[in-house]
Amino acid sequence: MSETLKITDLHVAVEGKPILRGVNLTIQRGETHALMGPNGSGKSTLGNAIMGHPSYEVTGGSIEIDGADLLEMDASERARAGVFMAFQRPMSIPGVKMADFLRHAATNVRNPNRKEGEDLIPMREFRRELKDKMSQLRMDEEFARRYVNDGFSGGEMKRAEILQLAMLRPKFAILDETDSGLDVDAVKLASQSIAEIGGAEMGILIITHHDKLLENNTPNFTHVMMGGRIVETGGVELARELYTEGYDRIRAAYPEAAALDAELSEEQATA
């Protein structure tokens, strides 16, 4: 059991309401997985549960990274164990500069046993690396001096998430709708960057509605989520089918799961 993120029969509830109902998924490092599905099917819930969001209660099953129990760890420990999530809607932290935040984060993730108060990555070294990464992502240097996600446009937020991915170099990355809010060129740049950063090193789970992001990140596997379960798994052709044809065929094949989805979507719409 090494180099593996393994999710077994995962059940997750939010405010007592079951969302995930038995998810099984194994990602090896070097693999790219696409996770697709209609709104409300539980895709983001899976991401949040893997990352350890305190509002997402795991009611059954397990998540393991290289054989270690992820569910025993808080979000910080999971990050240091090698898990990363690029958020759909990242939080803004006014008054905290991107560069300061990233230097802390990179130090902790690269040195998981660092104790509070111990030295951070040397400033000069860190700055050089940050500058390189930002120029690869065609980000203005000014960006590092801005406050974390504060007043960022949708596109800037997504690029900031990719910058963090590049700096933290996780073993496993979950990209939650990283393509939404980006124009076509930006999606292209993002997908190229992800491919470059990931290379053969990373296990990637791309949650998306958009095939553009998949062009440069050809998924080894495509999973369709419906009603809180993965109902079908295929190759890249499945992603293309879903993007062009929609979910009608899947809904027809799994009426029970489709009904659960419809119920949840309706609740979200009225909430």
């Binding site: 910080s76 990050a79 990363f84 990242p90 932290i93 905290v96 984060a105 902790n108």
Partner: protein
Amino acid sequence: MSTDVATPIEQPVIGEINKYDFITQTTGVFKARKGLDREVVEQISALKNEPDWMRKFRLDSLDIFESKPMPNWGGNIKLDFQDVYYYLKPTDGQGKTWDDVPQEIKDTFDKLGIPEAERKFLAGVKAQFESEVVYGSLQEDLAKKGVIFTDTDTAVREHPELLREYFGKIIPPEDNKFAALNSAVWSGGSFIYVPPGVKIDFPLQAYFRINAESMGQFERTLIIVDEGAEVHYVEGCTAPMYSTESLHSAVVEIMVKKNGRCRYTTIQNWANNIYNLVTKRAMAYENALMEWIDGNLGSQLTMKYPAVYMMEPGARGEILSIAFASKGQHQDAGAKLVHCAPNTSGRIISKSISKNGGRSSYRGLCKVEDGAINSKSNVVCDALILDPDSRSDTYPYIEVEEQQVQIEHEASVSRIGEEQLFYLMSRGLTEAEASSMIVSGFIEPLIKELPMEYAVEMNRLIELQMEGSVG
């Protein structure tokens, strides 16, 4: 009356510096007996060899103090005025020793990395001789420009005309009970006079007056910035001040004349049993600018509302205030802007943080007097609450007696969001690091107004306050 007369305490000889030391020239230690009455006030005045007018001012102030009721707003003051020592003649061995300093304060000094000698001074148990030479040369440089920078007691003796003209004029003893108390028993504090057109381009620090006298619990500061002059005064230090006495009640009066500028920065960190009840007020004249930067940490109760009275057209007032309330603490802090003339403008930014059951209140006044047309005030107060046991209140008072004015008040209260914490933690920051980072970000607008070294210390102080606050 009990007067303790002690033999002079032997001083360690520190090279040549001891010959500049005048504190050792005192012949004894004097401690007024506990409690307050005419006798004690007269005794203080006599010990300081004060002129009659000052003795009379003190005695009149005592009458006012006794006739005034306690404030019926703000925090809960449970204080027996007869159980306080009002005067301790400062000498090197004033009865306190380093051993008496509470461990938490020692730990703070330690973590702030403050050198041993400095710690002892800041804790009030040692006069600091080492800076004497610096003090002397600085004084000379300032004196050439006609600047006066000394302690207020010395100013009474050496600059009586200036003193009489301004002392107690901006904050008269009648102003409030604690201003009256200070007026009766005051001791120490800074006196600064900056002549017309003189701009001092480095901050003046109380550090330089510490040789003259240990920081009083009832210090009295008077700053006069003459026409077109500029000064930045930094009071005390960002390092913690502590006292074993229970009451700190200072008065700070500032006069900024036409086209003058004054910035007054203070960050105080008191021991947790102190009542910190301070009156601070500035008057700004034509096109003058007064800025208060005021940070409050520690104490049991702080009631402090720096004020700017804009007396003539074009005057401006800016107040940045920050309060950090932890367990057993109530920070009732805020600011006052009073527009007394047309085309005046003011801004208040107030930030408070409450944790571990602490309580912070913003209490602010925006007042526009009749005739102060086209005046503008902008007030922003933000409160950050770190846990469900803590509390924050906002009491904005707005009194407008004029039509053509613009008053803005924005207030926000936020809890450290679970979402913000999760976001930072998902990047590998521990919960403690994440909350500390959110708090630092919250006070960033104030920090960036501070001179570099103070900003660094302030950040360290906040980090220390945050330690162990979560998890």
